[in-house]
């Protein structure tokens, strides 16, 4: 008797952790996006909760201030019926001088199944995988990667465009300090999009073109032919004042205005938040119907549910 199995793409993730998108395959990224679309439907229901991860414990380790990423992860965990523990930087043993390794080992001793970590040092999530048995999700490590944010951007873009292949995406702003930019570049390149990065020279890492992107320092060059603009937050906390002369000058050179949206009628604008109004984006750009910033927030919960669901075992 011949076997008649229907193969329909990847059905599991090969990875145990989500540390970054640079090692994820197109199939794995697609599986996460497809799964997230199903979870979005659950978020529209009267009962926005499924019992899938009952008895599964997740610890959220946020060593850096974060509001929406932390809330988004918490909500995703609750929607999946997981138990969660929050561990923040201030008011915890961290302020008493405990090392990351000791913190991790203590948490491991409390028998958690998964850890979500946000840390100021690149590689912190990777380090954590060596300390605990469960899966680790990187929620941002220094200027390295922020994979779930990039996945959110991909899901949001896919709601407006059929395919990533040949899509022109410009990433605008502080490329040097942005983990969101790096995760997006890795993923968009794999999916066949053309990526252009744009920003002042002081905020552009050397040899960034080796990642397979076009580089420009003129905003008009980045915007006039592109389909999607991913704008990045100017992270005042990450660098001294010396890299840009002033926020007003940054706005004059790299801030998006409604004129840009007028000139390119296809353009949609993304921003990972929180927006510095009047710096990266004008007020009327933030309110514009082609600014999909709040869709990104909704998609954030769905993406995080999908990632947690697919990594849990």
């Amino acid at each position: 008797m011949e076997a008649t199995t229907v193969k329909s793409g990847s059905k599991v993730l090969r990875h145990k952790h989500l540390l970054g998108l640079s090692t994820y395959s197109v199939e794995e990224i697609s599986l996460i996006l497809e799964t997230a679309k199903e979870f979005r439907q659950i978020l529209e229901r009267p009962i926005k909760r499924v019992p899938t991860l009952r008895g599964f414990t997740i610890v959220n380790l946020f060593f850096e201030p974060s509001t929406r990423t932390r809330i988004s992860f918490e909500l995703a965990e609750k929607r999946l019926s997981a138990d969660l523990i929050n561990f923040g930087g201030t008011g915890s043993s961290l302020s008493k001088g405990e090392t990351l390794r000791d913190t991790a080992q203590n948490i491991e001793a409390m028998k958690v199944d998964m850890a979500v970590i946000r840390h100021q040092s690149p590689g912190a999530a990777h380090f954590l995988t060596r300390c605990i048995k469960g899966s680790v999700i990187n929620a941002g490590d220094g200027s390295h990667e922020h994979p779930t944010q990039a996945l959110i951007d991909l899901l949001t873009i896919s709601e407006h465009y059929q395919s990533f292949s040949g899509l022109n995406v410009s990433i605008i702003g502080d490329i040097a300090h942005s983990r969101v930019a790096r995760s997006n570049i890795f993923a968009l390149n794999k999916l066949g999009a053309h990526v252009t990065v744009c920003g002042p020279k002081t905020l552009m890492p050397a040899q960034i073109e080796k990642l397979g992107v076009n580089v420009t320092h003129r905003l008009e060059d980045a915007l006039d032919v592109c389909d999607v603009a991913i704008t990045l937050r100017i992270q005042r906390e990450r660098f001294g004042a010396s890299l840009v002369p002033s926020l007003r000058e940054y706005h004059a050179m790299y801030g998006l205005t409604s004129d840009h949206l007028e000139r390119n009628q296809n353009l949609i604008v993304l921003h990972p938040g929180p927006v510095n109004r009047g710096v990266e984006l004008d007020d009327d750009v933030v309110e514009h119907e082609r600014a999909v910033i709040l869709d990104q927030v909704t998609n954030g919960v769905a993406i995080r549910m999908a990632v947690i669901y697919l990594l849990a075992s």
């Binding site: 059905k11 799964t35 499924v50």
Partner: protein, 173 residues
């Protein structure tokens, strides 16, 4: 069962659904992924053909409600749940190809309950292979096939397998 047997049986099941409908009932069919969805669609068009009654059809994925989630699933893919009607006060007929342990039906009932409160839920299966592990029974059964656990019931439908039929297969160890 060959193609003709399968088609005849589905026809009978469609008549049974019609029979169970009270005049003031609002009936809807909910197919469970994957093959219950195709079975549900066939029942829907047969009911229309036989009685001229148009019954809405929904699809349900129960992956997230399974009780063996943590013991490791081979497949993590979630298929679409699409219930294009209000389940409150409905008479729902849940449809699947094979009834075995009853755990899928248990999960399906939980999933439906999260969507609302149907007036009544019934369960229809093409094959009942016995070996229940939960106190669950089918209201409408195509055929009862006593099996041993080493065997597997393979149901195939034209829509995805290019043929209709039911086979008893020995599971590879």
């Amino acid at each position: 069962m060959d193609a003709l047997d399968v088609q005849r049986t589905i026809r009978r099941l469609a008549r049974q659904i019609i029979e169970s409908i009270n005049s003031d009932d609002e009936v809807a069919i909910v197919g469970l992924h994957r093959r219950g969805v195709y079975l549900g669609a066939r029942l829907q068009s047969l009911i229309l053909e036989l009685e001229g009654i148009s019954v809405p059809l929904g699809t349900l994925d129960i992956t997230m409600y399974r009780d063996d989630f943590r013991s490791g699933l081979k497949e993590r893919k979630i298929r679409s749940t699409n219930i294009p009607f209000d389940v409150n006060h409905r008479h729902l007929v849940l449809v699947d190809d094979v009834l075995y342990t009853g755990r899928t039906v248990r999960a399906a009932m939980d999933a439906v309950t999260d969507l609302g409160r149907p007036a009544r839920m019934q369960f229809l299966t093409l094959i009942d292979r016995e070996h229940r592990e939960l106190p669950i029974r089918a209201d409408m059964i195509g055929r009862v096939v006593p099996t041993i656990s080493r065997e597997e019931v393979m149901v195939q439908f034209n829509e995805i397998d290019d043929r209709d039929g039911v086979w008893l297969v020995e599971r590879e160890q």
